[in-house]
């Protein structure tokens, strides 16, 4: 069965520092992969998604993610974090050939001034 692992429950970075959030997936075929962000008390907003093609995907708010098949990873990065990036981040994969998303447990990002 498909699964998504986000090994970091919390990450704290200083404002202006770079960020990398880890995501590993378990899936036999080429996956459809997503990163969503959830600000406190809000719903989920799509940051970026990967279907095929270029393995480096650009998203909104200056985020990017790189798909590495050999490592079964889809890590999210940002070169310079802003205080407004403090939120919870979820990695997700589409299950089988359906449209159902399987979510990781999330990583909460804290930003130090």
């Amino acid at each position: 069965a498909q699964s998504v692992t986000q090994p970091d429950i919390h990450i704290t970075v200083s404002e202006g520092a770079s960020l990398e959030l880890r995501c590993n997936y378990s899936y036999g075929a080429t996956p459809y992969l997503f990163w969503y962000v959830q600000s406190p008390g809000q719903g989920l907003q799509l940051l970026l998604k990967y279907f095929s093609g270029d393995t480096l995907v650009q998203g909104i708010k200056g985020f990017e993610a790189e798909f590495k098949r050999s490592q079964s990873s889809f890590n999210l990065r940002k070169p310079s974090v802003h205080w407004s990036d403090a939120a919870e981040y979820f990695c997700a994969v589409v299950a089988d050939s359906s449209y159902k998303l399987i979510f990781g447990s999330g990583t909460r990002l804290l930003v130090r001034p």
Binding site: G43, F51, V94
Partner: protein, 115 residues
């Protein structure tokens, strides 16, 4: 264009009471979903619908029922609420036109507490 809306935003129930959560979308999406979010567990799919009049079970369907009588609405019902159903509930919708990887758009959530 409101996107996905959910009613109510907050609700407190006593064990055994029933309630219905309403999800509405104005994007003409075929697919709709109900998730629950619990601390440390991400979002888990309860039920989903691939079109008006159709519903299917997700990962954690027990204790919930759903209906999709109109394309734009997806209702989630709790017939006899239990404390284990205390959670934040999210509705989402998507269009299959882009393939299995099409984006799901989420509502703002309903925070439900069962005492």
């Amino acid at each position: 264009n409101a996107g996905v809306t959910q009613t109510p935003k907050f609700r407190v129930l006593k064990t055994g009471q029933s309630m219905t959560l309403l999800c509405a979308q104005d994007m003409n999406h075929e697919y709709m979903y109900w998730y629950r979010q619990d601390p440390g567990m991400g979002l888990r799919l309860i039920h989903y619908s691939v079109g008006e009049g159709t519903t299917a079970k997700g990962e954690v369907p027990d204790g919930y029922n759903v209906s999709r009588l109109k394309k734009q609405n997806f209702l989630l019902g709790l017939e006899s609420a239990a404390p284990s159903q205390t959670s934040v509930y999210f509705c989402a919708s998507s269009s299959p036109s882009g393939g299995a990887g099409d984006t799901q758009y989420f509502g703002p959530g309903t925070r439900l507490t069962v005492l």
